[in-house]
């Protein structure tokens, strides 16, 4: 009897799970979406008051040498190597910052929290982070603020009140628009497309997919979403998954979105090895170096990404500005060294710029 009851509970859990609202495309999250206009009209930026947090009793760090730690989602992948390089570049340029990058080897929320916690104890002046989970990381960041540490996020946000500023590489709807527009151009308005993502739990990817679904519905209604597959941050798995998609859908598959800097080159490789160059478009987020061979072979026409080195660089510059007190709540722009003035949006976010589309013509100029 006890077994039956328990089995019933598990069963109930299962059913209620399926009852969860599903988004249009698998892999998206269930947050509200705000697709951009189909033409190039920029979204009207609604002015929002500062909603970031404030460190308590932060010492005056103006002009003083500060130690900063950067805790990305995980270390050992090209993307965060690039941001880390940008941070180091900025620290060198500033001269009065001692910065290092340290983090978990797996994109694991618990490990990341432990790392940040340890650095709070060791007494750093500033923390840069890219959150594995916006909510899970919040308590430890709030703890950092309460110890007077300056906290700035980049790449993946936390809840706003848990950090001071967030350097946004590109807005979700902007990325979504760039990806979907490029796909429509390369594969056709009525193309059948599939998505290779990292995991369904990765917030940025989930957000992008949701925004892409919304934007496609609005501006490219004939585009047909076939399937989303998970491939971790794993080269070979991404390749296998993309290959299976190609095999499964045959000619019905006209395009693959790569949602991570791992999935995109692996998908391009799968298309190349399947001999489908030109028949299946690969559009995605990726670093230029990994994509050069495929762009050179015309297998991939456009790669969407911001410059992660610039992202790290901007994050470091923002942190310095916060520490110096030159960036205060309510500001509308911030000076970020060689990047010039960056715009403040959404209350406490700093926008790096519009996403950049690499093509055969310009990809050679980038090295990261």
């Amino acid at each position: 009897m006890k077994k039956l009851t328990l089995a019933a509970i598990v069963g109930l859990g299962l059913m209620s799970g399926s009852a969860l609202a599903a988004s249009a495309w698998t892999g998206g999250d269930d947050q509200p979406t705000s697709p951009l206009a189909c033409d190039a009209t920029p979204a009207a930026a609604a002015a929002k008051p500062y909603d970031g947090g404030v460190p308590t009793n932060a010492p005056d760090r103006k002009g003083k040498k500060i130690t900063v730690v950067d805790v990305p989602k995980l270390i050992g992948i090209g993307y965060f190597n690039a941001t880390s390089k940008g941070i180091a570049d900025a620290a060198k340029e500033l001269g009065n910052v001692d910065a290092k990058t340290d983090g978990p080897t797996k994109a694991n929320i618990d490990d990341q929290i432990t790392f940040i916690d340890n650095y709070i104890t060791s007494g750093v002046d500033g923390i840069l982070f890219a959150a594995n989970d916006p909510v899970a990381i919040a308590p430890v960041l709030k703890k950092a603020l309460s110890k007077g540490i300056n906290v700035v996020g980049y790449d993946a946000n936390s809840t706003p009140d848990a950090r001071q500023w967030f350097v946004n590489q590109a807005q979700f709807n902007g990325i979504a628009k760039a990806l979907v527009d490029n796909m429509a151009k390369e594969a056709g308005e009525d193309a059948g497309v599939a998505i290779v993502t990292s995991t369904f739990t990765t917030p940025n990817q989930a957000r992008w997919i949701a925004e892409m679904a919304a934007y496609a519905e609005k501006c490219h209604p004939k585009m047909k979403w076939l399937e989303t597959v998970e491939a971790q941050e794993d080269n070979n798995l991404s390749f296998n998954q993309a290959t299976t998609l190609i095999n499964k859908y045959g000619d019905d598959l006209k395009g693959i979105f790569g949602m991570t800097s791992v999935a995109t080159p692996a998908s391009a490789e799968a298309v190349t090895q399947a001999g489908k160059c030109g028949k299946i478009a690969v559009v995605g987020l990726a670093t230029p170096n990994a994509m050069k061979p495929y762009v050179a072979k015309d297998c991939v026409k456009s790669v969407v990404l911001w410059n992660p080195v610039d992202l790290g660089y901007a994050a470091m510059m923002v942190l310095r500005a916060v520490a110096d007190g030159t960036l205060q709540p309510g500001a509308t722009t911030v000076k970020a060294g060689k990047l010039g003035d960056l715009q403040v949006i959404n209350g406490s976010e700093i926008l790096l710029g519009a996403p950049y589309t690499f093509t055969k013509d310009n990809i050679g100029q980038f090295d990261f």
Partner: protein, 314 residues
């Protein structure tokens, strides 16, 4: 079994832990502060709870690889019962704990009823439970828990983190059960010679079933604390937890072949690993370096223990 024999590995480990503490404290003045140590206690509560149950499992000669997945499944069910089913949070907590415990019972059932080696049974449920967590949640997080719920993971009682009390009490209870009760004797007997234990009138299958169920319960309890600590629910919670727990237990001197091991050893193993992770980070060693050190310490400690064993055993 003489006391000297019993505590041999634990003694080495205690010395090692003290040495490590002293060295780490001299490397960073931030290490040996009440604040930091209590905080570390908070961070190791989840692994700690799981390791306690894992000690019992490994003493019987088994292993439970599915604990990380049970943690993930329980966390997801907690969120789903509360948010999607609409149960009051205490009821959701209770039900989620029950489900996690049931998942442990299923492990035990497969192992005892079908004589599947524990490694294989829990390897399969490792994938199954994680898969259920992903499927049930469809990878959605559940957030927005009420403030009172955060007490379990973030609150303090008399200046000591709440979960450290739980871990402390659980350690005490586990040490007593394993060391001083008939159940503990049965656990050792099963690990040392299952057939002889059965021939001596020990209820082997029932004992194992209890132990795996308990392992599920500990993982479920850890899940509630974890969710409360990080204020959100995700299906990938607890990934890799099993290896951390096994490392702590094995470092604590529990024989992977069963029949030998103590809760004190496991506790020391946990403390040593946590101290190394924390202390090395505070002394400026990066995460990757710390992993290497922990690997070396694990092999080294067991090696020293084995050498002592051999010298005494002749």
């Amino acid at each position: 079994m003489t006391a000297a024999r019993f505590f041999r590995h634990e003694t080495i480990l205690a010395i090692l832990t003290i040495v490590a503490m002293v060295v780490l404290a001299s490397l960073s003045d931030k290490f040996f502060t009440a604040d930091n140590l209590l905080n570390q206690g908070r961070l190791m509560a989840e692994v700690g709870l799981v390791s306690l149950a894992m000690t019992f499992v490994i003493v019987t000669g088994g292993i439970d690889l599915s604990v990380g997945s049970i943690l993930g499944l329980t966390a997801i069910l907690l969120g789903v019962f509360w948010k999607n089913v609409g149960l009051p949070l205490p009821a959701a907590m209770f039900l989620a704990l029950a489900c996690g415990t049931f998942a442990g019972w299923v492990n035990g059932f497969i192992i005892t009823r079908f004589s599947v080696p524990p490694l294989i049974a829990t390897l399969a449920t490792l994938a199954l439970y994680r898969g259920l967590a992903e499927g049930i949640s469809e990878a959605r997080s559940v957030r927005g828990y009420p403030e009172w719920f955060f007490f379990f993971g973030q609150g303090e009682v008399m200046g000591v983190p709440f979960q450290l009390w739980i871990l402390g009490i659980a350690t005490f209870v586990a040490a007593i059960i394993l060391g001083l009760t008939p159940f503990g004797r049965a656990t050792y007997a099963i690990g040392a010679n299952e057939v002889a234990a059965r021939f001596s009138g020990i209820r082997v299958n029932a004992t194992k079933l209890w132990i795996y169920t308990g392992s599920g319960f500990c993982a479920a309890l850890a899940a509630v604390i974890f969710v409360s600590r990080v204020t959100t629910t995700r299906s990938d919670m607890g990934t890799g937890l099993e290896l951390d727990a096994i490392t702590a237990v094995v470092l604590g001197g529990t024989s992977i072949f069963g029949g030998r091991g103590t809760i004190i050893g496991t506790a020391l193993g946990l403390i040593l690993i946590q101290a190394l992770k924390n202390g090395l980070a505070l002394s400026g060693v990066k995460g990757d370096g710390t992993i290497v050190v922990i690997g070396l310490v694990l092999i080294g400690a067991i090696l020293v223990g084995a050498l002592f064993d051999r010298n005494r055993g002749g």
